[in-house]
Symmetry: C3
Subunit: 285 residues, 3 copies
């Protein structure tokens, strides 16, 4: 898991609210595995996550998995294809690993914390296959497995994804039908990154963010890059969202403290030109 | 602890409900012990259990214990005598370890998950003594230790049990007065099992399931057996419950995958001829 | 963490309530740390605590820390200066470690369990510095960091403390302004202890317990001592609280069972002459 804490600034956070707060997260993963005689590894994961503003810490719903020579099947609170594919979160920055350049679409993902009572019937099945430098992802989520017929407008979510590295190039693609269980909310992602050198990377992500209640969420293009000199990595991105009034962008920097610990900060501007900034520490354990 | 997941079928589960769902459970036990200079071991256990249909994972109430040369005293969320005695659950089958042949009586047992707010005063004391191949069990549960006088109709539950192995025979007996804290709900269990050979076992369990609100829950007799060939174990049982319209029965099979992991399935028919079935994997860690 | 269980007696606990109950606590601390290349240790703690009368076990809010050569900064659910300083809890006795001689003031402290929904904005920052036999403590708590202006009558709590050992003497002092976030509730503590010999100690604690809603909580003086012979330690204290009708006092004894396990009991009389007693076991792990 990891811990992180620092100062988070959100311009005009709300009436009577403080723009700057101390924002923190502690995440513990509890994993258990056993391997059968034939070499199949069965595993289970539970996560305990505490964020600033919480009043307690409870575990999330369980994820079960069975793995055999690069092939993994998961059941329960699974990692979905759209959320697992490479590159899609590579424009993130700051100690909170955030970016307006992330997909603005709605889709299901692994739930790190408790879910609402109405989501108690959520059940996912996922499969991943790794072959050399290629990864294939499939996920299926039933928003409510308890009922024999889902409500009108709610469907099972089905996702497919793929990523591949070759030399200095990495590419990724994902497609999810009825994303977040919303009928006809079909979303897509295409990403490509190029390692200019050992210390410099650029990437371009394209998202079709789907349609919710007849309203197109809009296509989105995010361009990002980073450059490392010594212990310092500087990062930047710009993201254009169809229908948004402004282009979002961000600049950030990490300072590596060793052993996976870093001091990170960023200043970002959103699609409505709102400014957010963060500065803090993140450490892994 | 252990993990299990698979498909669970319940015939006519309910109006608008799906008969077949993915049913799962993840159970983590957190144990801590320390041994004094005189050789007494003090211990404590907390359990975190997540089942399909849950929205989060919380720990249960604590069990404390002190052990010395075969004698163990427990306090808190204790294992009760009726729930701990040997043989009583030996007709269970499938990856969910279920059986209609289990006692249909109401009695207190170790609570794996959160308990209702009204049960916050629940307090148990239990003792077990192991001597050679014999085990003795005692448990006392106060349904609400906070109040000076329990409500009318509610009593402390007191249970006694015993099991013993000799050669190919194993026998077990249990008696609990005011089971589940219900006044005059006195329940009993007698069980015997015989190992025909290294790979074949048969057993017979008799239950007096007590009386609740003046209504006799009925006597129950369960006959069960299992036979192992190679990695496969087949299981069967039939259970007759006084006053029930039908005899319950089940057939099941386990396929051992090694390291305590097994693929298990069962088809069972209940006392009202309702059919249930399960097929899945269970693994220990 | 630790476990403890035993009998707790409270005279006239309440109408319809049982004076004697089995009282228990199980506490697990989950700590994670990582050390950077420069030798700074980053850490995080989560605590899971279950007490008798609870219905489940959840984790508390996280505490984060960064330590470097005797200097530690904490963020989140921090240990406050007034709660951390030496000597202040040294009059406690019994397996539940309780004393009427503890400060009767209201102040913020590390929360071992879930906090009320209204306290979700609680955020603390603390620093300690250890230098030889001296420790310095600072803590700052914002009762609600989410709002730009705290409600009238609510302020940030700021605390300072210090303790020092020299030869057979130990001294401690603490001052906290706006304790528990209550405006003008300024509290203070002065303590001194003297080790008469290897087996006998005496101490004197003085508290200014502050003012809440214009009412002076009263000054308090606690005199305590303990004496060890073999595995047994006897303890006693007397505490005088300004405005109270009676002097509180207690006598207790510990019997060490080895490896940090002890059998402890006490009989104490409160400021209104109410009698409480406890007898039980406490063990560390």
């Amino acid at each position: 898991g990891y811990g992180r804490f620092g100062a988070q600034y959100v311009e005009d956070r709300g009436v009577g609210l403080s723009d700057t707060i101390i924002s923190s997260r502690l995440r513990f993963n509890v994993d258990a595995t056993t391997e059968t005689d034939a070499g199949v590894t069965f595993g289970a994961r539970l996560r305990f996550q505490n964020d600033d503003g919480d009043t307690q810490t409870v575990g999330n719903n369980a994820k079960f998995s069975a793995s055999f020579s690069g092939f993994t099947v998961s059941v329960g609170n699974v990692d979905t294809a759209f959320d697992s594919v490479a590159l899609t979160y590579d424009s993130e920055m700051g100690y909170e690993d955030s970016s307006f350049g992330d997909s603005q679409a709605s889709f299901f993902a692994y739930a790190s914390k408790a879910i609402p009572a109405g989501a108690a019937g959520y059940m996912g099945v996922a499969a991943t296959y790794s072959f050399g430098d290629a990864n294939f992802y499939f996920s299926y989520v039933n928003p409510d497995q308890r009922v024999s017929t889902l409500p009108v407008g709610t469907n099972e979510e089905v996702g497919l994804a793929f990523d591949y590295s070759v030399g200095q190039f990495k590419i990724a693609a994902a497609y999810t039908a009825d994303a977040a269980g919303i009928a006809d909310n079909d979303i897509a992602f295409l990403g490509a990154a190029y390692a200019i050198s050992d210390v410099a990377n650029v990437g371009l992500n394209y998202y079709d963010n789907g349609t919710i209640a007849g309203v197109d969420v809009g296509d989105q293009v995010t361009l990002y890059g980073n450059y490392t000199f010594g212990a310092t990595t500087v990062r930047a991105y710009a993201s254009d969202l169809e229908g948004a009034s402004n282009t979002a962008f961000g600049i950030g920097a990490d300072y590596a403290l060793g052993e996976g610990t870093r001091l990170s900060g960023s200043i970002q501007s959103g699609f409505a030109s709102e400014t957010v900034a963060d500065l803090g520490v993140r450490f892994n354990f």
